[in-house]
Amino acid sequence: MIWSRGVLRPRSRLLLLGAFGLWISGCPVLASTIKEQRTTPAGQLVIEQVDEGPLGNEFYVYLAGKTILHSKLGDATTEFSAFPIPHLFAYFGESMNGVDAVAVFQQFNWGNACDGGPVWFLGISRDGNFKKSNSVEFCGPPETTVKHGVIHLIRSEAGQASPPKEWIYSGGKLQKVKSAR
């Protein structure tokens, strides 16, 4: 069994119990790997891979032990089933927009059609409350900047003459702005 970085989330504890049950019955055990983690005002933000394999296709995102996201390749009952791999793309640790921190995620898959997929934001409050934003489609890397205390998300399309598109993070949502840079 593989445990990395030594932190057991609530689901990991269940997996550990389940794995022990499987071990004593002689079956293979599940591996769970923490891929990324970050300390936030509300506690640890953790991305965990729960399937086996060199790359992984099923993931959870937890904040202080609470499930924020479950994604599994091809499972339409989960979010981002075509882009199941969450990556913490950026993190803003200062208070803005009514929250104490903002985490920016980009979803990936392992295929080569797109170098990175949808982007979504997570607003985090010190008291443990959180709010997930809507997602914006990407097929490539995003750009984030802060202007006058507001986070801007910018999408430039490779090979396209059209100007970049821009969203602002406000009220827990990503809102498209009419004109970009």
Partner: protein, 113 residues
């Protein structure tokens, strides 16, 4: 060899730059590692190609839409060359047809060996 994306290469324990500097034979170790989770699931050339291009389409029917101008326009435009009939949708069949044509050509007498 199969144009790994940078994060994919990293997940396999290497990098795009390192792969580019390898011989095709050396890259095969990473191709094998990449494809290992699909063991037993790739029953056609199109499924093999989907594992490389857009894994959610593995084992899906040929008319499965990978990208659509209406639903995911950014991904569609990045892969627009695969929309063979120009209907604004890229199906699994369309995406795999170029690979199939290359295989057919490669299997012609005189091209084997």
């Amino acid at each position: 060899m199969i144009q790994f994306m940078p994060r994919t290469a990293e997940g396999l324990g290497t990098s795009s730059g390192a792969l580019a500097a390898m011989t095709a034979v050396d890259q095969l170790d990473f191709v094998q590692k990449y494809l290992s989770p699909f063991r037993g699931k790739l029953h056609s050339l199109s499924d093999l190609y989907m594992a490389i291009l857009f894994p959610v389409a593995v084992a899906k029917p040929d008319d499965f839409v990978l990208f659509s101008m209406n639903i995911n326009p950014i991904a569609f435009r990045q892969n627009e060359g695969l929309d063979l009939n120009g209907d604004g949708k890229i199906t699994k069949l369309e995406a795999a047809s170029k690979v199939q044509a290359m295989l057919t050509e490669g299997l012609r007498p005189g091209n084997i060996g």
